[in-house]
Amino acid sequence: MTTARRSALPGFGPAMAITLCWVSLIVLVPLASLALRPWELGLAGVLHSVTEPRVLAALKLSFGAAALAASVNVPFGLLVAWVMVRYRFPGRRLADSLIDMPLALPTAVAGIALTALFSPKGWIGAWLTPFGIKVAYTPLGIMVALVFVGLPFVVRTLEPVLMDLPQDAEEAAATLGATRAQTLRRVVLPALAPALLAGFAAALARGVGEYGSVIFIAGNMPMISEIAPLLIVIRLEQLDYAGAAALGLIMLLVSFAILLLLNLLQKRMGVRVR
């Protein structure tokens, strides 16, 4: 669909100039500052800054909670996507539009809403308190918030794949005597695996950096419920620019590494990430 450069279509030069200018100003130069700033501490200083126990705990929490939440979202998202695509029921269109809500809703709004819901006196929190389950201000609350923001990623990645899934394989399995459950397990799920992985990756990427939805419901207790982006903000407030940049750089690099890994995994499965 794309034509070679110097094709009949004009406008490449100016468009490219605008794009390059914009990308440089808005993305590249800021990124360069992030990459270069930590090193004023020296290599030893940077290593020291990112291996402090508090930093390691925050990174573990951010990546761990995001991974857990994305894992919860995979079956949850699969269920939702399946029901949306394969079934008909009244209100399906409405439900389908609502799924994008976590994406359209500002993160701070989601944050205070979830906190209000799950705090010990909230609508859901009050139900859970008798069982001794505390959601708000604990790592569990962080997970709830991340499940909330990550769900659309899994669902929206799965839906196009489900829609295009040819059903002849399922029909063949049925004619060969497989039960529906067997067909689902052995024919459909493997076919969906790359898309599930892509959805997981997308939800994970979003969850790791999430700030607004999480800081209201998290306890923000160092070593326990303090997410990495919050630690960046705290370091900035203490005018530790280099330390904040070091932590930001580490987060960026680890996120990239994970996404690259998942991308490679997907390529082996034969489907590219988005």
């Binding site: 794309t2 034509t3 094709s7 009949a8 279509l9 004009p10 406008g11 490449f12 100016p14 468009a15 794009t19 914009w22 808005i26 800021p30 500052s33 992030l34 269920l79 939702v80 029901v83 695509v85 079934y87 008909r88 029921f89 439900a95 539009s97 609502l98 994008d100 359209a104 993160t107 701070a108 709004v109 979830l114 209000a116 909230g122 859901i124 990645t157 196009p160 829609m163 295009d164 899934l165 059903q167 029909e171 049925a174 004619t175 067909t183 990427a205 950096g209 999430e210 700030y211 607004g212 209201f216 982006p229 960046i232 900035l236 005018l239 620019y241 940049a245 987060m251 996120s255 988005r274």
Partner: protein, 287 residues
């Protein structure tokens, strides 16, 4: 036949679950969706209205809250058009031409999406804060970027940058260049071709991307929190105002502003649904 569902199988009884299973699964899904999606929305409006419309009115006429609404509108009004123009330019290069570094450019354009919003604000402080690369220079010139509106705009530009491009690039690739090439061979200049062929074909996708970019621009929290300085009445956008009111024990105020933002989200969703129906299929560009 619904456009967001699969083609029905020719052998339906073999490729569908038992009716009982279907009902249960549907029921479970609806319950889960209600809990996860509808309840937060409901609690916002319930809390805001918990002391009646009068309290909401008072909250809305608070000068700091009004200032935050105006500031949010200003920031969106500046950043969305800028990003739209540059997004169009980027979509044009990437969607219509092949060149070395195309993948790299695409990655750079999508970069802000995979980065924590806090980092998107941090980088501007690293550049323009008093200890930043350009900080001392700006200070001598008396130019204020961080802790002032320009900083908010820059932070918002970074986080909303990919939205238009990411919607338009796949759309451009899908629609192909045939019509535009035809226009060129018929003697049209670039702008004629652009206004009369390209844009009309893109219009729903463009609107879609602008819509999402706008929702994100108005709702951004992490990036602007870092560059804002939290000066009430001057550098607080609506999401920041929500946080400030929440921490001030002013829950009515916080949930009122949150309610306004939620209404914006609902409108965005509604228009998005309508546009998707127009475009004919789902474009995954929100992600």
């Amino acid at each position: 036949m619904s456009q967001s569902q699969a083609v029905p199988s020719v052998f339906p009884t073999a490729t569908r679950e038992r009716p009982a299973t279907r009902v249960v699964l549907t029921g479970v899904t609806i319950v889960l969706l209600v809990i996860l999606l509808l309840l937060p929305l409901t609690v916002i409006f319930t809390e805001a209205l918990s002391r009646g419309l009068g309290a909401v009115g008072v909250a809305l006429t608070d000068p700091d809250s009004l200032a935050s609404i105006k500031l949010t509108l200003l920031v969106a009004a500046v950043s969305v058009p800028l990003n739209t123009v540059c997004g169009l330019a980027a979509a044009w290069c990437i969607g219509r031409f092949q060149f070395r570094g195309r993948s790299l450019l695409l990655t750079l354009i999508e970069l802000p999406l995979s980065v924590s919003p806090v980092i998107s604000g941090l980088v501007w402080v690293l550049l323009f804060g008093a200890n930043g690369w350009f900080g001392p220079m700006l200070d001598r010139a008396g130019v204020r970027i961080i802790f002032a509106v320009p900083g908010l705009i820059l932070a918002t530009l970074l986080v909303t940058f990919p939205f238009v491009a990411r919607t338009l690039i796949p759309l451009m690739q899908q629609q192909g260049a045939a019509e535009e090439e035809a226009a060129i061979t018929l003697g049209a200049g670039f702008w004629q071709m652009f206004w009369r062929v390209t844009l009309p074909n893109m219009r729903w996708g463009l609107l879609y991307g602008v819509l999402l970019g706008n929702a994100r621009a108005m709702g951004e929290f992490g990036a602007v929190a870092v560059v804002s300085g939290h000066v009430r009445g001057q550098t607080m956008t609506m999401p920041l105002q929500v946080e400030a009111l929440f921490n001030d024990y002013d829950w009515i105020g916080a949930f009122t502003i949150a309610g306004l933002l939620s209404l914006l989200a609902l409108v965005t969703l509604a228009v998005k649904a309508a546009l998707e129906w127009r475009i004919g299929e789902r474009s995954g560009a929100l992600l």
